[in-house]
């Protein structure tokens, strides 16, 4: 896909790194789908401790955040919201009692989000009571209904997931016939490839998974996976984390051979765990109908108007006056060095990985047992040993055909779990891209005076007052958030978009309060009283004289005629700064044509070379 598109649209652009989720993938491999099956019984609406949100509220917030994140990151995915244990029924053929399909499987839009907002809070509970009510429970019917939702979809579905949100561990109250029906229907669903998860919520007596739900949910993907978590979610944060961990189907960007040496090859999947989310490209719409239009790009001969086929065109670059022409294939071939893959060069201690050797976001690799048996064992051994010896593996990395190599550092990362036993960091190697010599710029360091211990200690106090625990998911992108709020407002005909909270802005007031007099104390230690760091830099400043912090502002250093003449003769005027040159012009009453550096230099040269 990428190649076709690239060929016809971005003729000269380099292949983008992050094309793996650019929509094209969906066309080929089908779409992901997710059904939220939510318990709507009375118990779900009971307020939490200390007036906290009810389980129902928590669930709705969770569903909302999935909806909005799908809209932003994967708008082709299908999501459905179904309630069970309702009084009223609403489903495609109305063949199921006490099952209320609130949203059929569809890609979520602004309307869907708005619908969910209506179900939140006190008013939401009332609305839910009015539209759906709470009634008899039959999970079997609900699951059956859901399986129809899946089968009614004409699109190819690649990944099918169903999440049950409930706080009742024994939904049928001992009705074994209903239990049995639910188990059968769950088995049917699983048979067709649907993965069933339980997002169980807290209830006073505790949630006993083994009573009933252990037979409903899917077994963990892997026998060793944590699988069913026995602890119910108490907090929204935990629930969101748990849902988020399951909600995204992980997709490998590519599968590659990782060669340790001649004849020792394992298979790994390459994953993108972080990539810069950007505003999606605009689509062109036909003015009359607002329907999207497609573009077709054609090349034709300027003189005879004939369509030009790829063979009728070549690529060219001009250097100096020399034109160099190549075939498109040759242009591609130049980029080919070897077949795609990771090739081990050797190992280095971790401290050899420099902080500032950064050119691209990292990737992640994990073994692919399905391609080469034994990969996982080899990989795990390498991971353990590298981690134990505090080493990284240096590899040559070619991500795809006709792509030039890069060197990467494979940094071992062992699995870490957070307090709620959710995986915080997955086991595998991080792939850190290393710079070539060309990527490193020569920066002439500014060497200046350094701070005294007293000054450093004062700053330490400031640092200490403003410390916090950094979390990588703590900041939202205000530009993206604003963009989507704008779209949401337009889609829902709102008068104005909801305001965003810009988390990237410093909380100045709070910082000032915390710091109190420290700032002034620090400034007294480092800045002379007349120094204004916010002003434009004037002429050179000398550091505060020892002892007396209040060195007087020295008059501008004027340049002697002799010095200037010297510069003119040697042609070194260019070394002086614009303000100095301006001053010089003023000093000798030289009129200039402008204030650009070259103009100043020209004027001075004219004056003194006479």
């Amino acid at each position: 896909m990428a190649e076709w598109r690239e060929y016809y649209q971005n003729e000269d652009d380099e292949v983008e790194e992050d094309e793996e989720d650019s929509g094209g993938a969906y066309k080929i491999s089908g779409r992901d789908s997710l059904v939220f099956l939510v318990d709507a019984s009375k118990e779900m609406f009971i307020k939490g401790e200390d007036g906290g949100p009810s389980n129902f509220d928590m669930t709705m917030q969770c569903v909302r955040s999935v909806y909005t994140s799908k809209i932003i990151s994967s708008d082709k995915d299908l999501v459905a919201l179904v309630f069970y244990g309702t009084e009223k029924s609403k489903n495609p053929r109305n063949s199921f009692k006490h099952v209320y399909v609130y949203h059929d499987l569809d890609s979520p839009g602004a309307k869907h989000v708005q619908d969910i907002d209506k179900l939140q809070g006190e008013k939401g509970a009332q609305l839910a009571e009015k539209t759906m009510g709470s009634g008899e429970t039959s999970l079997g019917e609900a699951l059956w209904c859901c399986s129809n939702l899946y089968s009614d979809i004409k699109l190819r579905l690649s990944h099918k997931r169903l999440m049950i949100f409930t706080c009742r561990d024994d939904p049928h109250g001992g009705d074994s016939a209903k239990d049995r029906q639910a188990r059968t229907k769950a088995a049917d669903l699983k048979e067709t490839g649907v993965v069933i998860d339980l997002m169980h919520l807290t209830k006073p007596e505790g949630f006993d998974v083994s009573l009933f739900f252990c037979d409903i949910v899917s077994p963990p993907e892997d026998e060793s996976e944590l699988g069913l978590q026995t602890e119910p979610c108490r907090k929204l944060e935990d629930l969101q984390k748990r849902v988020r961990a399951k909600e995204l189907k992980k997709r490998a960007q590519s599968r590659l051979t990782f060669s340790l040496g001649e004849g020792v090859n394992l298979a790994v999947g390459v994953y993108v765990l972080a990539r810069t989310a950007t505003k999606p490209p605009a689509v062109r719409l036909y003015r009359d109908t607002n329907e999207p239009v497609r573009t077709k790009t054609r090349y034709f001969h300027a003189h005879n108007g004939g369509i030009l086929l790829p063979n009728d065109m070549k690529r060219s670059q001009v250097y100096g006056k020399k034109q160099i022409v190549m075939e498109k294939d040759e242009v591609d071939e130049i980029k080919k060095f070897d077949d795609p893959g990771l090739v081990l060069m050797g190992f280095k201690p971790m401290e050899r990985l420099k902080l500032h050797h950064h050119i691209r976001p990292a990737l992640f690799i994990y073994p692919e047992e399905e391609q080469i048996l034994g990969s996982s064992c080899m990989f795990t051994t390498l991971l353990l040993k590298c981690s134990e010896k505090n080493l990284f593996a240096l590899c040559r990395y070619i991500p795809r055909r006709n792509t030039p190599p890069r060197f990467v550092a494979l940094v071992p990362q062992r699995e870490e779990l957070d307090q709620s036993q959710t995986q915080a960091t997955p086991p595998g190697f991080r792939v850190i891209f290393l710079p070539f010599a060309d990527d490193i710029r020569t920066v002439d360091a500014h060497v200046g005076p350094t701070a005294s211990d007293e000054q450093v200690d004062k700053m330490k106090e400031i640092v200490h007052k403003l410390r916090f625990k950094y979390r990588s998911d703590a900041f939202e992108n205000p530009m993206l958030q604003q963009h989507y709020r704008n779209l949401e407002a337009l889609a829902l005909d709102m008068l104005a978009p909801e305001p965003i909270e810009d988390l990237t802005m410093p909380k100045v007031q709070m910082m000032d309060d915390r710091l109190g007099p420290l700032v002034q104390e620090f400034k007294d230690l480092v800045y002379p009283p007349d120094y204004n760091p916010e002003g434009k830099p004037a002429a050179k400043r000398k550091p505060a004289e020892s002892g007396g912090g209040g060195a007087e502002k020295k008059p501008k250093v004027e340049m002697s005629e002799e010095e200037l003449k010297n510069h003119v003769e040697k042609g070194t005027l260019g070394k002086l700064t614009v303000p100095v040159l301006k001053d010089a012009c003023r000093q000798f009453g030289i009129r200039t044509t402008g204030t650009k550096k070259q103009e100043l230099i020209d004027a001075l040269t004219m004056q003194f070379s006479k």
Binding site: G24, G346, H356, R441, P478
Partner: protein
């Protein structure tokens, strides 16, 4: 971003007869030096910077320079005056740069170069003046003028670089400032086999270099082989990164003036390829036209003016004009570097670094108060092992980032290192199955020790004689092979327009391989690993994903629609035409399945190919169980390409329309599935 300031550089090469001598099995110094010059000029030409380069040869049979008078400065030729290097210079070097039969004093040559630099930079603004001397020092020199020369070099601010066939001082500069050659890079030890003149010359080189610079002076003396491998040595004349003046703020009232520079960033190929007409090579002969059309059966074309801009919001498509978008979009209030708070460095993981650059932050050069204030911050952070989390905005038009500023204290300077960190939207929380504690994958003790031994044998950091560890594989000293290869091919094609592209140069290939010493050392350990870890390829999916996968050859395939084409496989028409059968099938199946690709075929003139393929496919539907696949085509109305669409087609629109429908009827009376042992490949052979 880089300032427009340019450098002037004179390449001064010894072509005297001693340069053509060589030890058995070694390339003569002349050839090596010529290659260095060639590579360097190549880079300059293709990197298209504004630096000016001159070329002075000494030891030439003739004499041509501004100072030659009364038998002085003889056998020195100014081959090229200071100007931007171009293709002509490359061609001249290739064809005209020949060994001379004379010898000339390299100090005299140096004086000629200085004269050239001074005269020809007069009135122009250059940031740097540099002379590069390539010589074997094997000539009698008169040292009496040395002090005068050093003096005038200093006065004029000219810097020097020497390239010699042997290292200046083997031991001392093994890894001094990090630029030293690896142990294997030095072809000869100093002092050994050097002539009296060479030893003398070497002393003079040291003398000059140490008097010119305060420290690390000998860092600018290289061997030819260094230079060839690591053209990054020419850094000296690289362009300077642009300064980004800003203010670091903490709260509302603490401000420190700062200047940022991009220190590390992924350098991309700057020039892009233009499309030209194949015969005329004229760009203007190719017109590109983009048309907009509705997504209906007729692909009704609409005018661009009748279209408006919109965005997807999930399932909604929201019309949103450029004007409205600009008005409503997030607006940052200009450039900033504002501290949001401070955090432990360990909470910022290396793999969380985002963006494509690292910025070094200093205090402005002329502001010593700012320097003290920033130093206090850097030192405080360093001793607390903390970093600042900051909001960074490059300017009013750019979007804000959140990033980390780490303290960096070096021997000579201190600064903050700024790196972008992720936004919540950038992260993907994938959960992966457990690896450790998984019985299936738990390594045995012998497996662990085998890998342990392998790692030990493959360390790229070695101890030298003094017990210092030396990195033998510093990738940040390697030039990006992509550029080297591109320049090589451009150069080659420029000089020989009709030749095929040359193979990748051996040294470039070598840079991409494991160092030989490491390779040799790890053989035993590798063999052990090989026997202890059974690794078995399951199925080569990519290769076997041909007929079976795409066309569902097995009858019990549950859903032929599950056609999976690996996302990473790239397709291009040329590959299809000449590539192997496998990729052809993949590509065509893929092409068939996606309407945009179908359109591509429409344009690309592969209509013939496509149509004949479709026909053969159609013929094989009944006996190859391809019905489901065919249904897909019907569903997507993917049919023959008609005359209406592409000139080259021999089918009418009607033919095309009937092509699929007719098939449906035919299919009913199709013969029952035949025993078929052939491969689908054969039906594609005609293509």
């Amino acid at each position: 971003m880089a300032r427009a300031a340019k450098s002037a550089l004179v390449l001064c090469m010894d072509v005297g007869f001693s340069m053509s001598n060589s030890e058995p099995g070694q390339e003569p110094s002349f050839e090596q030096a010529k290659k260095v010059i060639q590579k360097f000029v190549q880079r300059q030409v293709f990197a298209e910077n504004k630096d000016e380069v001159g070329l002075v040869l000494f030891g030439t049979d003739g004499t041509k320079n501004g100072l030659a008078k009364d038998g002085q400065y003889e056998n020195i030729t100014v081959h090229r005056h200071l100007m931007m290097p171009d293709f002509e210079l490359l061609e001249e070097i290739e064809s005209e740069l020949q060994p001379g039969g004379q010898q000339a004093d390299w100090l005299d040559a140096l004086v000629v170069c200085m004269d050239l630099l001074q005269k020809e930079t007069m009135g122009k603004k250059f940031e740097r003046l540099n002379i590069v001397l390539l010589t074997d020092l094997n000539v009698q020199t008169s040292a009496d003028q040395l002090d005068v020369i050093i003096d005038s070099l200093k006065k004029a601010g000219i810097t020097l670089q020497f390239f010699l066939p042997f290292p200046v001082d083997g031991e001392d500069r093994a890894d001094g400032g990090g630029d030293g050659p690896g142990p294997s890079a030095a072809p000869a030890r100093p002092g050994k086999g050097l002539s009296r003149q060479q030893t003398q010359g070497l002393e003079m080189v040291k003398n000059i270099m140490t008097s010119l610079e305060e420290e690390d002076s000998l860092e600018e003396v290289y061997t030819f082989s260094d230079a060839l491998q690591k053209l990054s040595i020419f850094k000296r004349i690289d362009r300077r990164p642009m300064a980004w003046p800003c203010q670091l703020t903490i709260g509302s009232s603490l401000t420190i003036r700062i200047v940022g520079y991009k220190a590390v960033t992924e350098e991309k190929v700057k020039k892009s390829w233009a499309i030209v007409e194949a015969q005329s090579h004229q760009r203007d002969d190719v017109k590109r036209e983009t048309v907009y059309c509705l997504d209906d059966d007729n692909e009704t074309e609409v005018q661009k003016d009748d279209t408006i801009q919109g965005f997807r919001y999930g399932s909604d498509i929201v019309p949103f004009s450029k004007v409205d978008e600009d008005q409503m979009k997030y607006k940052s209030d200009g450039k900033c570097f504002s501290v949001l708070g401070f955090t432990k460095q360990e909470l910022i993981r290396r793999h969380q670094f985002m963006g494509s650059q690292v910025v070094k932050v200093f205090a402005p050069r002329d502001d010593e108060h700012a320097a003290v204030a920033l130093s206090a911050l850097i030192r405080a952070l360093d001793s607390l092992k903390m970093a600042a989390i900051v909001r960074y905005a490059y300017d009013r038009r750019s979007n804000p980032q959140v990033g980390a500023a780490f303290p960096c204290i070096k021997e000579k300077y201190e600064c903050l290192l700024y790196v972008q960190l992720p936004f919540m939207e950038d992260l993907r929380q994938f959960t992966f199955p457990v690896l450790e504690n998984n019985k299936k994958f738990t390594p045995s003790a012998s497996q662990l020790s085998a890998v342990d031994a392998l790692i030990d044998s493959m360390m790229l950091v070695e101890k030298d004689e003094d017990g210092e560890s030396v990195d033998v594989f510093k990738v940040n000293h390697f030039p990006n092979p992509q550029f080297q290869r591109l320049f090589q091919c451009l150069h080659h094609r420029g000089v020989n327009p009709d030749d095929p592209l040359p193979p990748v140069e051996p040294w470039l290939k070598r840079d991409l391989e494991r160092p030989q010493a490491v390779s040799a050392r790890c053989q035993t350990a590798l063999q052990d690993v090989k026997t202890k870890f059974p690794l078995k390829v399951v199925v080569k999916k990519k290769e076997q994903k041909t007929s079976a996968d795409v066309f569902g050859s097995s009858a019990d395939e549950p859903d032929a629609k599950k056609v999976k084409v690996d996302e990473e496989t790239e397709f291009n028409l040329a590959e299809i035409a000449k590539g192997n059968i496998t990729s052809r099938i993949d590509a065509f199946a893929y092409a068939l399945l996606t309407a945009p690709a179908h359109n591509v075929l429409h344009q690309s003139g592969n209509a013939e190919l496509f149509n004949s393929y479709m026909q053969s496919l159609k013929r094989s539907v009944p006996d190859r169980n391809l019905q489901e696949f065919w249904d897909l085509l019907i569903q997507d109305a993917l049919t023959l390409i008609s005359k209406d669409e592409v000139d080259g087609s021999t089918f009418s629109k009607q033919d095309a329309n009937q092509f699929l429908a007719f098939e449906q009827k035919e299919e009913v009376q199709a013969a029952p599935v035949q025993e078929d042992t052939g491969d689908v490949d054969d039906l594609l052979d005609m293509m």
